[in-house]
C-alpha cells in the first residue's frame, strides 16, 4: 500500500499543479497526471473547496466572538445612556473627523489609559443601520484584516457597541489629503508620493481587493510625508476578473433612494464602467488613480461632474467627452511646470484613464514602472511599446505614400464597379486590392513607380477588350497575371514583385494553388538577384507555406518552414521581419494541426520579433513592416489562447485587435469583422449571452454590408446569434434566425451539403426544446435523410439525428420507443468507434435515466457510469449535467448497495 505520506505529497503536488493552470484546463491535467480514481476524487473535492469564497475557519471564529443578538449584556441599560459622541468599547470618542457614505468617522482615545494611542473609529451612520450596512462594515473589517501595508491605514480591531452597533477602530492618520499636501511639493516628490500610493493599491489588488473609491480625500499624507490609503468602505473582493458584491447592478437607479442596487461611487474619480454600474475589475482602480495622478501633476481636475447628475449622464459623459491632457490643463491654469508634463506624463495619464479598461495599464505595477521609467529618463511603455501607437506613428510618417495608393484605388474600384457582376465581388475586390496595394506601397521604396506599373499592368489586360461584356474580378486578375508574364522581360524585378502581390490576391480569393505558383515564380527571380538577408524572398517563402496550410497541407508547411527557419538562422541571423513572418506562419500551421500550445508560443515570438523590427525601423526610417501583420499575430495568438482556455488574455487581445483594425481598416473590413466574430464566440462560450447577442448582431449587419446576405459567414452568424438569443429567452427571434439560416444554407449549397443538415438540426433542437414535438420529429427526420444521403448510413452524424428522434419519443412519454432508439444510437456510435464523444455521453445518459426509472439498476449504473466518465472529460466536472449524471449514478449504486457506493456517492452525503 502506498504510504499515506507519499499519497499526501502527491496530492499536494497535483493540487498546486492544477491551480497553476486556468480552470478550463485542470480537468485535462488531472486526466493526464492522475489515473487513480480515489486520489482524483479527493483532488476534485479539494479544488472545489478552493473555489469557495467562504472561509469556514474565519466564520467559525467570527461566530464565536461576535456577541450575537441573544447574549444581551447586563450593562445594556447603562450603555443605552451613551450618546453617539460617547464611548465605543474602551474608547472615548473625541471629535467627528469624517463622514463617508456608510458611516461616520471619529477620532477616539483609549479610556483605560493603558496605552497612549489615538485611533479612528468608524461607526455606521445613525439611522442607517440596516443588515446591508452592517454587512458592509463587517466586510470592510474582513478586508482590512488581511491587508498589512505601510501605505494602508491599519485596522486595530472592531466590535459592536453596547447597542449592537458595529464599529471599526483603525489607525488614525493625522494628515492632509494628498492633493493639498502636494501643492507645495516639487514634481519629483509628488511622483514619488504617488508611487507609494501605487504600491498600496497594487498590494490590495494582489490580495484580490478592489478599493473602488480612490480619491485624494481617501489618501492622507502625514506630517512625516507618509501616504496612507483609507476607507475600504465600498471595496470588494475580486474573483475571476470580476468584482462580486452583494448587490449586482441592475438597471434601476437612484442613488438617493437608499435602495439603489448600484454601489456608491464618487463621480469625479469613478471609472466609466463604475458610473455605468457594470461589473468592475482592478482596472477601475487604475482609472481612478489615473485621475488622482492627473490632479497631482497638473493641480487641476480632468473634469468636474459634481454629484448632481444622474449616473447615466455621468457614465455617458465619461465615455464620450474627451479629456484634455494634463499638460494643457496645467498651461491653461498658468502653471509654469506644464512643459514637463508634455509627452511621457500626458501619455501615462492618458493610458491609465483610457475609456476602455483593456487599454489601461494591465496592473498598477505597470503604471508605477512607467512613472519610474519617466523619472529615470527611460522610454515609457505608454508611448513606446504599444503597437497601435507605433502603427499610427507609422501611418503618419508615410501618409503621402498611403494616400497615393488610396487615390489610385478609388479610381480603380470605380472603374471596376461598372463592369462587375455583383456588388459583392466588387467589395471583395476593393478590399483585397486595397490591402495589397497598401502592402505594395509599404514594401517598396519606389512606390510611385510601382503604382504606375500596376496601372500599366491593368492596361495590358486591356479592359477595352471586355467592353460590352460582363467581366469578373477574377478574369480581370487572371488577365493581369498573363500580361505580367509578357512584361517580364521589361523589368524582371517589378514582375517578381507583382507576382508576389497577385499571389496574395489569389490567396485571398481562395485560390491557394494559383497563389503558390505565383509565389514560387517570384522566388525563382528573387533568389539569385537579392542578397540572402533581403526581406522579400523570405516573405515569399512564408507565403508559400501559407498556401500549403490553405490547401490542407499543414504538415508539409511545417516541414518547409522548419527548413526555412534553419536557413534563416544560418544565413541571416536571429531577428528581422523575415523571421517574424516565418515564425508567425509556423504558428498558423501548428494551430491548424491542433497544437495551440506551440502555436501560442510561436505567435508570441513573432510579436516580439515584429516589435523589435518596428523599433529598429523607426530609427532607420525604412518602411518594411506593416503593423497590420502584428495585429494578425495578436489575433492568431488570441485564437490559440481561446483553445487553451486562457479566456481573459484572449479576450483582451481580441479587443485590442478589434480596436486597432477599426481604426486602421474601418469597421466593415472583413478582418475587423472576423475579430468581432471571435469576440462574440468568446462571449457565448463564457455564457455572456447578452453581450454575445449584441456582438453577433453587429457581425451580422457588417457581413451583410460586405458580402450581401448570401454568404456562409452570414449563416454562421445567424446560427450563433440564435444560440445566444435562446439562452436569453428571446425565443421568437431565435427561431426566426434559425429558419433564416436554414433557408440561406439551402440557397448557398446544394441540398445534400452537410451544412444544410447542420442548420436543420439546430432548428430541430430548438423546436424540440419549445416542446413542438411533431415539428421537431419532422425536422429530425429530414436531418436523418439528408445525412444518410450526403454522409452515408454509417456516419456517426446519422446516429446523432437518431438521438434527436429518441429524445422526442422520450419527451412524448413513449419510453419503449425511446429506449429502442437510444440502443440503436449507441450501437451505431460504437460501430463507428465514435462512442467516446460528448454526444455519445448524452445517449448513454438518457438510456441510463430510462433504465433507472424502470428500476433496472444494474444496467442503469453501467450506462450512467459510462456517461459520467465522458461528461467529466468533455463537459468538465462542474457542468450541471455532469452533476446530474453523478447523482443518478449514486442513486443506482445505493440501490444496488454496491460497496463502492459510499465512495462514489460521498459527494452526495448531504442528500437523503
Amino acid at each position: 500500500m502506498e504510504s499515506s505520506a507519499r499519497r499526501w505529497a502527491r496530492l499536494e503536488r497535483l493540487f498546486h499543479g492544477a491551480l497553476d493552470l486556468p480552470e478550463a484546463r485542470r480537468s485535462a491535467y488531472l486526466d493526464r497526471e492522475c489515473s487513480e480514481p480515489a486520489l482524483r476524487a479527493d483532488l476534485e473535492a479539494l479544488l472545489a473547496s478552493d473555489r469557495r469564497t467562504t472561509d469556514p475557519l474565519a466564520t467559525a471564529i467570527d461566530d464565536l466572538l461576535l456577541p450575537s443578538g441573544d447574549s444581551s449584556t447586563p450593562t445594556s441599560t447603562e450603555a443605552s445612556e451613551d450618546s453617539v459622541l460617547g464611548q465605543k468599547g474602551p474608547y472615548r470618542l473625541l471629535e467627528k473627523i469624517g463622514q463617508g457614505g456608510l458611516g461616520t468617522v471619529y477620532l477616539a482615545e483609549r479610556v483605560d489609559g493603558q496605552f497612549q494611542r489615538q485611533v479612528a473609529i468608524k461607526v455606521v451612520r445613525r439611522g442607517l443601520m440596516s443588515e446591508g450596512l452592517i454587512e458592509d462594515l463587517r466586510s470592510e473589517r474582513q478586508i482590512l484584516a488581511h491587508l498589512e501595508h505601510p501605505n494602508i491605514a491599519r485596522l486595530y480591531d472592531g466590535g459592536t457597541d453596547s447597542r449592537g452597533r458595529p464599529f471599526l477602530t483603525m489607525e488614525y492618520v493625522d494628515g492632509l489629503a494628498i492633493d493639498l499636501f502636494c501643492r507645495t511639493l516639487p514634481q519629483e516628490k509628488r511622483l514619488s508620493l504617488f508611487l507609494d500610493v501605487c504600491s498600496a493599491v497594487s498590494y490590495a489588488h494582489r490580495n484580490l481587493i478592489i478599493h473602488r473609491d480612490i480619491k485624494p480625500s481617501n489618501i492622507l499624507v502625514s506630517a512625516e510625508g507618509i501616504a496612507k490609503l483609507l476607507d475600504f468602505g465600498i471595496a470588494s473582493p475580486v474573483t475571476a476578473g470580476r468584482s462580486i458584491r452583494h448587490n449586482d447592478p441592475e438597471p434601476s437607479l437612484n442613488p438617493l433612494a437608499g435602495q439603489d442596487p448600484r454601489p456608491a461611487f464618487t463621480p469625479d474619480y469613478a471609472s466609466p464602467e463604475q458610473a455605468a454600474g457594470e461589473p468592475l475589475t482592478t482596472a477601475t482602480d487604475i482609472y481612478s488613480i489615473g485621475v488622482v495622478l492627473y490632479r497631482l501633476i497638473s493641480g487641476q481636475p480632468p473634469y468636474l461632474l459634481g454629484s448632481t447628475a444622474d449616473p447615466e449622464t455621468i457614465a455617458e459623459s465619461l465615455r464620450t467627452s474627451p479629456v484634455e491632457p494634463p499638460s494643457i490643463a496645467a498651461r491653461k491654469a498658468g502653471q509654469p511646470t506644464w512643459k514637463t508634463l508634455r509627452g511621457d506624463l500626458d501619455a501615462i495619464v492618458g493610458k491609465a484613464m483610457s475609456v476602455q479598461p483593456q487599454q489601461r495599464y494591465g496592473s498598477v505595477q505597470e503604471l508605477a514602472d512607467d512613472i519610474r521609467n519617466h523619472l529615470q529618463n527611460r522610454p515609457v511603455a505608454a508611448r513606446a511599446n504599444r503597437w497601435s501607437y507605433r502603427a499610427s506613428k507609422f501611418l503618419r510618417r508615410h501618409r503621402a505614400a498611403v494616400s497615393a495608393a488610396t487615390v489610385m484605388l478609388g479610381a480603380l474600384a470605380f472603374g471596376l464597379l461598372a463592369t462587375l457582376q455583383s456588388q459583392q465581388q466588387a467589395q471583395a475586390a476593393r478590399i483585397t486590392a486595397e490591402r495589397h496595394l497598401a502592402d505594395l506601397t509599404r514594401e517598396q521604396k519606389r512606390s510611385d513607380r510601382m503604382i504606375e506599373s500596376f496601372v500599366d499592368t491593368f492596361r495590358l489586360a486591356d479592359p477595352g477588350e471586355a467592353r460590352g461584356e460582363t467581366i469578373t474580378v477574377r478574369e480581370l486578375i487572371d488577365r493581369s497575371v498573363q500580361g505580367m508574364t509578357t512584361a517580364q522581360s521589361v523589368d524582371p524585378e517589378l514582375s517578381a514583385r507583382l507576382a508576389l502581390t497577385f499571389g496574395k490576391v489569389y490567396l485571398n480569393l481562395g485560390s491557394p494553388g494559383q497563389a503558390q505558383e505565383l509565389f514560387e515564380r517570384s522566388l525563382t527571380y528573387f533568389e539569385p538577384h537579392l542578397s540572402a538577408d533581403h526581406s522579400i524572398p523570405w516573405q515569399a517563402r512564408s507565403l508559400v507555406a501559407e498556401t500549403l496550410v490553405d490547401q490542407g497541407k499543414s504538415d508539409q508547411a511545417v516541414e518547409q518552414l522548419e527548413q526555412d527557419l534553419l536557413r534563416y538562422h544560418r544565413e541571416v541571423g536571429t531577428n528581422g521581419i523575415g523571421l517574424a513572418r516565418l515564425t508567425h506562419t509556423l504558428g498558423v500551421a501548428k494551430l491548424h494541426l491542433d497544437d495551440p500550445k506551440t502555436a501560442a508560443q510561436l505567435f508570441r515570438q513573432a510579436i516580439s520579433l515584429y516589435d523589435d523590427t518596428l523599433d529598429s525601423r523607426v530609427t532607420q526610417g525604412s518602411t518594411a513592416t506593416s503593423s497590420l501583420e502584428v495585429a494578425e499575430s495578436h489575433h492568431r495568438l488570441a485564437q490559440a489562447l481561446l483553445r487553451l482556455g486562457e479566456l481573459e488574455d484572449a479576450e483582451q487581445r481580441l479587443q485590442q485587435v478589434l480596436e486597432f483594425r477599426r481604426h486602421e481598416l474601418g469597421s466593415t473590413h472583413p478582418s475587423t469583422v472576423t475579430a468581432l466574430g471571435d469576440l462574440a464566440a468568446l462571449a457565448l462560450y463564457r455564457g455572456r449571452d447578452e453581450q454575445a447577442a449584441e456582438l453577433y448582431e453587429q457581425v451580422l449587419a457588417r457581413h451583410r454590408t460586405v458580402f450581401g446576405s448570401h454568404h456562409p459567414h452570414v449563416a454562421v452568424a445567424l446560427q450563433n446569434l440564435a444560440t445566444a438569443e435562446k439562452h436569453l429567452g428571446r425565443l421568437d427571434s431565435a427561431k426566426q434566425h434559425l429558419v433564416e439560416a436554414v433557408a440561406l444554407r439551402r440557397q448557398l449549397h446544394h441540398e445534400a451539403h452537410p451544412a444544410v443538415a447542420d442548420a436543420l438540426y439546430a432548428l430541430a433542437r430548438f423546436v424540440h426544446q419549445q416542446r413542438n414535438f411533431d415539428e421537431a420529429e419532422l425536422l429530425y427526420q429530414q436531418v436523418l435523410e439528408q445525412r444518410r444521403l450526403s454522409l452515408g448510413d454509417q456516419h456517426p452524424r446519422v446516429a446523432l439525428a437518431l438521438l434527436g428522434l429518441a429524445d422526442v419519443e422520450w419527451s412524448r412519454g413513449q419510453l419503449q420507443n425511446a429506449e429502442q432508439l437510444y440502443r440503436q444510437v449507441i450501437a451505431r456510435l460504437e460501430a463507428s468507434s465514435s462512442h467516446r464523444t460528448v454526444d455519445a455521453s448524452f445517449a448513454y445518459y438518457q438510456l441510463g435515466l430510462l433504465l433507472l426509472r424502470d428500476h433496472r439498476w444494474q444496467e442503469a449504473a453501467e450506462r450512467l457510469s459510462t456517461a459520467l466518465q465522458l461528461m467529466q472529460q468533455y463537459l468538465g466536472v462542474d457542468h450541471p449535467t455532469t452533476a446530474k449524471a453523478r447523482e443518478a449514478l449514486a442513486q443506482c449504486r445505493d440501490r444496488l448497495s454496491d460497496p463502492a457506493a459510499s465512495e462514489a456517492g460521498r459527494a452526495d452525503t448531504g442528500d437523503q
Binding site: 464565536l64 441573544d70 449584556t73
Partner: protein
Amino acid sequence: MERQATPAVSSTGEVTRLLKNWHAGDREAFEQLIPLIYDELRRLAGKHLRGESSALTLQPTALVHEAYLRLVDLRLEWRGRVHFFAVAAGVMRRVLVDLARTRNREKRGGGQRPQSLADLDLAGPDRRDRPDLSVIDQALNQLEARDARKARAVELRYFAGLTNDEIARVLDISRPTVERDLRLAKAWLSNFIAPAEGPADS
C-alpha cells in the same frame, strides 16, 4: 470588571524572561509560558464574551496582540516577539475551542432559554456553512496528523494573525511556501468540514 485584573508588572517581566530563555534553548521555559499566556487570553476573551468589555474585539488576532501588550516587555527584540506569537497561536486556539465547547454545553443543556427560531436554523442545513470551532479543531488535528507544518501555519495565521512573512520566519520556510501551504490547508479544512457537493449548481 475590575481593572486590577490586569497582570502585575512582575508577570510582564516573567513572560519576557521566559521568552528569552526559551529562545536560548530552555525547553522548560516554554512549558511555563503556556499557562501564563493561556490565563491572560482566557481572561480577555471571557471578558469580551460576557459583554463586560462592550465587545472590545472581534478578532483573536487583536486578542493576542492585546495580550502581548500586557504580558511582554515592549523592548523585546523582534525575534522574541515572533516567538511570543508563535506560542500564543496554539494557546489561543485552545482558549477559543474551550470557549466553543462551553458554549455548546450551555446551549444543549439547561433548557432555561426557549429555543428561538434562530437556534433552530443553526441546527438545520445551514449548519454546514457555519461550522462550530470544535469541529474545526478536530479538522485541524486531522490535518496535523497528515502534515504538521500546514496545521501550524493555519494556527499562526488564524489564531495569532501573523503575516505570511512572519509565518515564514517562524516556520523557517519561504513565503511562497507559506502561501501554498495555507491554500491547500484551507481547501482541505473546508472540504473536511463541509465536503464539496460535486460541482456547484451555478
